[in-house]
């Protein structure tokens, strides 16, 4: 079903997390300037490293599976690429982002030869390694972003990038770097692909509300999904004329979304429960709540508790603050733990409650009535 992990003694919120290739190590930031790396030993997780280079809060971490490099970005306007030596120590290289506001999100491209950093400077830095000078340089995508870039995701073809922003728009760009890669061919999003070319722009709502929290390209790269602060889930399909399909939900806003098959996506956020939705034709349909935790009533002691509560807090009811869910606070990020975007078996979520929960979709599908993942 689901497995809950906590790391260390602190119950600090987990800002973001990333797994290594075989999922035996995890990098996360406990809501400060540090990045902690834990390794699985038997059933325990032991801290092996503490990456301290940033001055301010770390906003994004991404771990390239094949080249085993970590990239981190932070409010201090810097990004670092970390490589592991033979002795297990991580060494760092500064990336020249050339931004004057906080860096907010970072993602390696699928081929791991470049990465993108979104920032409060209303631009996206596409960073790649320059061999001649032995450092990471960046090129900027600027237009027409009007506000902080909150979330980015790469197309599987290693060229296109989708970015969600606080100006209520989702945009698809070409992030082709001619210095390091071959000329890309045309695709469903567009034919001319110079760096920074905007191939699509989607407003989050016709009324102009709800900044975008998270974006995700589908596994085949034809669809983009995003969630916004108006509690909506949106999908745009390039093969269907790039029309926006919008579902306004009755829940609190979602902070993360991820495709788990080519048609199903998982969303999670302020309601503390991951939900599954399905894109079918021109509709987004609710499939299931993935967390059906019921709080157990504390049986025999309830009378005593009642009087204690009356005595101590002058309250008649014994209401406490525990929620009917595994996560006890907003979920801020979703990562695939096992499988791929086209066929996810397990995914992990972290949130402000400092917990990491691994959700097993296969066993959830067997145990939850009406849950069919297509």
């Amino acid at each position: 079903m689901s497995q809950t992990l906590t790391f260390g003694d602190s119950c600090a919120p987990v800002t973001c997390h990333a797994w290594n290739k075989d999922r035996t190590q995890i990098a996360f930031s406990p809501n400060n300037n540090e990045v902690h790396i834990y390794q699985k030993e038997g059933n325990d997780w032991k801290q092996t490293n503490n990456l301290v280079e940033h001055d301010l809060k770390v906003m994004g971490i991404d771990w390239a599976p094949n080249t085993n490099r970590i990239v981190t970005c932070s409010v201090d306007r810097n990004a670092y690429v970390w490589t592991q030596g033979d002795d297990g120590k991580w060494t760092t290289t500064l990336v020249l982002l050339r931004i004057n506001r906080a860096a907010t999100c970072v993602k390696w491209s699928p081929m791991e030869n470049k990465f993108a950093v979104g920032s409060g400077a209303r631009l996206i830095s596409i960073c790649y390694f320059e061999k001649e000078n032995n450092w990471w340089v960046s090129k900027h995508i600027k237009k027409p972003i009007r506000s902080t870039v909150t979330s980015i995701d790469w197309h599987p073809n290693n060229i296109l990038l989708v970015a969600g922003s606080a100006d209520f728009k989702v945009r698809v760009y070409s992030a082709y770097i001619k210095d390091i890669e071959d000329q890309p061919g045309p695709n469903v999003w567009g034919t001319k692909l110079p760096l920074g070319q905007m191939l699509a722009e989607f407003p989050n709502s016709p009324n102009g509300g709800g900044w975008v929290h998270s974006v995700s390209f589908s596994a085949d790269g034809n669809k983009v999904a995003w969630v916004g602060h108006d509690s909506s889930i949106n999908v745009a399909d390039a093969t269907q004329g790039k029309a926006i399909i919008k579902l306004k939900t009755e829940y609190l806003p979602f902070l993360g979304c991820s495709w788990v098959t080519n048609n199903s996506l998982v969303v999670a956020g302020h309601s503390c429960i991951p939900l599954m939705y399905c894109h079918e034709g021109d509709q987004i349909k609710f499939v299931a709540k993935l967390d059906n935790t019921q709080r157990k009533e504390s049986g025999g002691l309830s009378a005593m508790k009642k009087f204690q509560s009356l005595d101590r807090q002058a309250r008649i009811e014994t209401n406490d603050t525990l929620l009917d869910s595994i996560h006890q606070n907003a979920i801020t990020s979703i990562r695939i733990f096992e499988g791929t975007k086209a066929n996810t078996h397990k995914f992990s979520t972290t949130g402000l409650d400092g917990q990491l929960v691994i959700w097993d979709l296969d066993s959830l599908e067997r145990s939850i009535e009406g849950l069919k993942i297509v």
Binding site: K142, R146, D167, N207, G210, G228, S231, K248, L252, P253
Partner: protein, 150 residues
């Protein structure tokens, strides 16, 4: 973390004003909405067709209008409809609305709380309860996050 300084005046300087590509609200492209037709709504109310009147005011809400006067008139008219519907009929009325209308209804309920009249808030709270049962927290969040106010 940033050092504490005794002065916080610098925080009030609008440094973004010197950027040429500042965020601007999208101009409303559609024709300027004029709001619901008062005569039509009053006629429906007089005939006792409260639910139809409610639909008319919600469907014609001038959300895209920049003119505060039009919005205030529409608000007054909507509140008139909301307060005319008896508390026993609220559930039926809300049940007849589509989800987009529930969102607009929620916006008017909150606007109604802003400028209360005798007995209005209690009645609006009943509306709020019934609208919340259908729209959930999502419709309240959309009242807060939507740029187009009623």
């Amino acid at each position: 973390m940033a050092k504490n300084t005794s002065s916080s005046a610098f925080r009030k300087i609008d440094i973004d004003q010197y950027n040429e590509d500042n965020f601007k609200e999208d101009e409303a492209e559609q024709s300027i909405p004029t709001g619901p037709d008062e005569g039509e709504v009053c006629a429906l109310l007089n005939q006792g067709r409260y639910i139809d009147a409610l639909k008319v005011v919600l469907n014609n809400a001038p959300v895209g209008s920049a003119n505060q006067q039009i919005k205030d008139n529409a608000l007054a008219l909507t509140l008139k409809v909301l307060l005319a519907i008896k508390s026993t009929q609220i559930e039926e009325a809300v049940g007849n609305l589509c989800l987009d209308d529930i969102d607009i209804l929620m916006k008017y309920i909150y606007r109604g709380f802003e400028c209360p009249t005798e007995g209005s808030s209690g009645h609006l709270l009943l509306w709020h309860e019934k609208a919340f049962n259908i729209g959930g927290s999502g419709s309240i969040v959309r009242v807060l996050s939507d740029r187009m106010k009623v």
